[in-house]
Symmetry: D2
């Protein structure tokens, strides 16, 4: 159950009520208590202090449309808005990894030329082997910050594990919680106290319910700016790298109030179908796309097979606007 | 390897060559031999008789773009064409099961009103329990034939197992091989000798390679009119009934020369996201859709949760034209 | 609900009651009616005629321990018994396919030497490509019958599709319904009227519930001799061919009253771990094993990688007796 | 490629060689270099300094039987040994979570009574919701340490995320890297520098290759005491919580040189089949078992359904010795 407290309730009183009801106190502009989901009736102790409350069937609570019907609005900087009353579909693109200043600058210029506002690139790569390229780390983050300064881009980059969470929060405009870190409470709880939007990628072995509940860790920490990103799940089919779960996206749209972004590059793991899949994603009426683009994919240090080159990206990007319009949305 | 024989080669000679090379003789207008896929060089015995040949990397042979680059054209009756040089996306709709004459006639009139040309409905239901509704069988097929006569519709209906294959071939315009029968060689080989187009649904536990190879059983029997239908695979996610595999569709489009149809109704298993998913499917640039629609889903004898009512269908259908146009296709 | 009718109820009366209650009449020694599983109270119309009844939570009915607590006894010929009060674990072995008289005779002699009573070998192979070895068909069945005659072995062989069901029923001692045919109602219903035991393999994409319900098609047809066989399910892990589901076996043992056989050969798809897996299976307290053994696996026409040679088989077989004894069972 | 350097090579020289060959230097008693796995011939720069080397086909390197044929020996304290030349199968048991001093002391006494040497219990629970019991944290660790002191038990407990890694290393005898943290490089790299054995649980969505490579992060950090634990993977089957992958265990035994432990409790997620599954695991010839046991499972704060009570545990435990003996092993 989510309980919104009356405006006049003090933070001290709220803490007291939280303890009395074994609830989590969410310290947003409006103070909220979230109880165990098995509690289906407003506790007597809260009655005097409650403005509104919503009973949720399970631990999908703050992110549930039962609590808040409308999709929340998430702002990246001052001028980019996802969800809310906008019908924006945001393009975020860039290479799998920051590899050098020259590489990331080439990409940045390409984004500016194509009027793309958000640069994606990894610095801490969640590789499955210690013997392959691990990313540029802090140096990569600093290069991304330089590009932001120089080209007015916003930056989204991944936190791989808790050991470098502070750096990623400091240098990014959107903190990306990687698929392999989706269950990481250290990261999620820290993001709940950060003043940056957080994009959570669905673990490839994670159920939709678990995915939505990962957002609850951030939301219940007080950070209301959470975006969900579906990027393919692991199935028996191995002719494609993963299986993009658009049925799952339909479920997320139906059940949660969070903006939804899709990452077809990691799902397919191959260039050939990215354009088709991206058009399908946009036709779902989603809030954004993450696409891997590289100046020369053949020499990329990671994910070489799935990154688009600039020409392929531009061709695809042009077609997305028409699809977006057909479903009442605008590509930004 | 697929070997197209010269026009002057007689059928007798072709049979002789097939035996000599342990190949399968395909008796189309152009006689073809298909060898084991491990054969990578034209057998000496065939040299004199060969017009063209294509070396394939595996047992995806007649359906492979390596053999035939362009998507084949499949005709349903005289006036409906999928694939080929058309950019048609065909709507096929109707109830999960034929339940009564009244029910199927109500649906038929609805199709006529909406200018839909193909009626789908099951007569032999592949239920997983002997204790639930099993379909109307032959009586259902006869009702479908009556609707074809009366309303000028084409009919697609499913063969569940080999015991009633002859009836389905006789009464349908398109023979649908159900997902649970995808490996059924009795059915596939019989369809290879039928003069009706065949739509094969992917088994929900079947790889893309196996799916494409199921088509080879029909194609190698001499029936060139095969359509592939993706309808969702079984994954760990059970908040949705199945997982529609659009990465797989991208692979099929890249590797095979067969028209592709999508069935989002069975994939999601719930009404709420069918419209979004159908728009996504159309944006993939596919050749057709199979959608379950029922006059009153609440009383349907099977698949009640996922069938659209007429109003939902009409709203969705209107939006599909815009998406189709955005990707250079026409809904028919 | 399963309703056992009183002994004095005539078959005609039973048919009448079945129709009146929309039940399926099972014509065993004891006449039974099986109703829709949603019926939780004995219909008034049946009260006078009912000896016993059991309410089942879902369509697992005749095979449910709720209906019959004890594992049923299945006899193969006169002297082999699975389930019931025996603690037998039956070894069934032989090559993937019958390839020639010489091959199958070599295997038969090997079985006799090792005191193995049941020969397994396929004649109709459910290959996924029309361009690979399809099995010897009827000729293979006749060779198996010859071995039975000559060496006193029992024979288990697979029906691939309904088109050759009669031949398989005629020539085998146990009819094996293959994993790819698990949903085939044509086959299952025909087996329900056969006087041979039926071993049903779990489809590799099939849930445990669906698997158990496949048995209901046979049982409700009147054939009480059904064995379940787990042979690996399809998962994301592809370093092994399939994933043997022993958690599923635990479930089947808990919920169903049918003997359970395991096939580790098809699950792993490689020789190296078959002995370890077989020991694990026997330690589960199961009723039988199906193991692929070939005189020379390197030249096998199908499943070459997973068949044991005679030496490997003998080493493994010796170790199984000790494990069986450790869990209170006897290898036969 | 793994290169063992000659004894006379100094650490400084070794570092120099590592840099020159872009290798990772492993600072064990014998200095080793691990190169990219694509390197298949000994680099010229290393020739003079190399004692032995092994070429590995992929990034399974230090853990591969190609590098070291025999299973490594891992010691827990002074008197417990897994792997090596012992044929021990180690029982580790205890509750899902430490819930109170009384509870954990009751369990500890039960272990002593049953001659069990290793106590398992969680303090940082990787729950999927922030609104359920999260574990006792540091207080729990301190209780475990108290039990060690008082009852001479060894303690294995889970690190959930990097934020409390130091505490877990300090208080445990074996550091358990949980399934949800299997990809966590922060944790794995820190464990590589710890002087405690590390048990890595396979992620339920992780391939065997990725699982084995997680061990490489620890091994390449210099910690040679790594144990692999299979605990069930996520599949389409949801009548059981997960699917215990014994085919995968066969693969791990064939390919890796690390001791293997199995956790059937988390795989099945229900009490009824744990005894059968545990016997199957022991029959596989594995090195240890992790079993959840609770004084009163009905009031457990987490995983209530799958924990055994003391009576069930004792019955099962007795039967394991016989199975272990049947496969030439000893339960300790």
């Amino acid at each position: 159950m989510v309980v919104e407290l009356k405006k006049e309730v003090s933070i001290e009183k709220a803490r007291e009520l939280a303890e009395a009801t074994q609830s989590i106190l969410v310290e947003n502009e409006i103070l909220k208590l979230v109880t165990f989901s098995k509690i289906k009736e407003l506790p007597a102790a809260l009655e005097t202090y409650t403005e509104n409350f919503a009973v949720t069937p399970n631990d999908l609570q703050l992110a549930s449309r039962i609590y808040k019907q409308d999709t929340i609005s998430v702002k990246i900087g001052n001028d980019i808005e996802l969800g809310g009353e906008k019908n924006n579909t945001l393009m975020m693109t860039g290479p799998c990894s920051v590899e050098s200043e020259e590489q990331i600058e080439t990409v940045s210029k390409f984004l500016v030329k194509n009027n793309i506002k958000v640069l994606r690139a990894g610095c801490y790569k969640p590789r499955t082997s210690p013997y392959s390229f691990q990313g540029m780390g802090l140096e990569g983050l600093q290069l991304l910050a330089k590009m932001r300064e120089k080209y007015g881009l916003k930056v989204i980059t991944e936190v791989r594990d808790y050991s470098h969470i502070e750096e990623v929060i400091e240098y990014s405009d959107v903190v990306q919680v990687g698929a392999k870190a989706m269950y990481d409470q250290g990261i999620l709880r820290r993001c709940g106290k950060a003043n940056k939007p957080v994009l959570i990628k669905r673990g490839f072995g994670s159920t939709l319910q678990e995915f939505a509940q990962a957002a609850e860790f951030v939301l219940s920490g007080g950070n209301e700016n959470v975006i969900l990103c579906e990027r393919g799940i692991r199935t028996f089919e191995f002719n494609t790298r993963f299986t993009l779960d658009l049925c799952g996206v339909a479920w997320l749209k139906e059940k949660t109030n969070l903006p939804i972004v899709l990452d077809p590059s990691h799902a397919l793991g191959a260039r050939y179908g990215i354009a088709d899949l991206s058009r399908a994603c946009v036709a779902m009426g989603i809030d954004g796309l993450l696409i891997e683009t590289h100046p020369d994919p053949s020499i990329a240090k990671s994910d070489a097979a799935q990154q688009l080159d600039f020409k392929m990206f531009e061709e695809m990007n042009a077609s997305l606007k028409a699809v977006a319009n057909a479903v009442g949305r605008v590509m930004i």
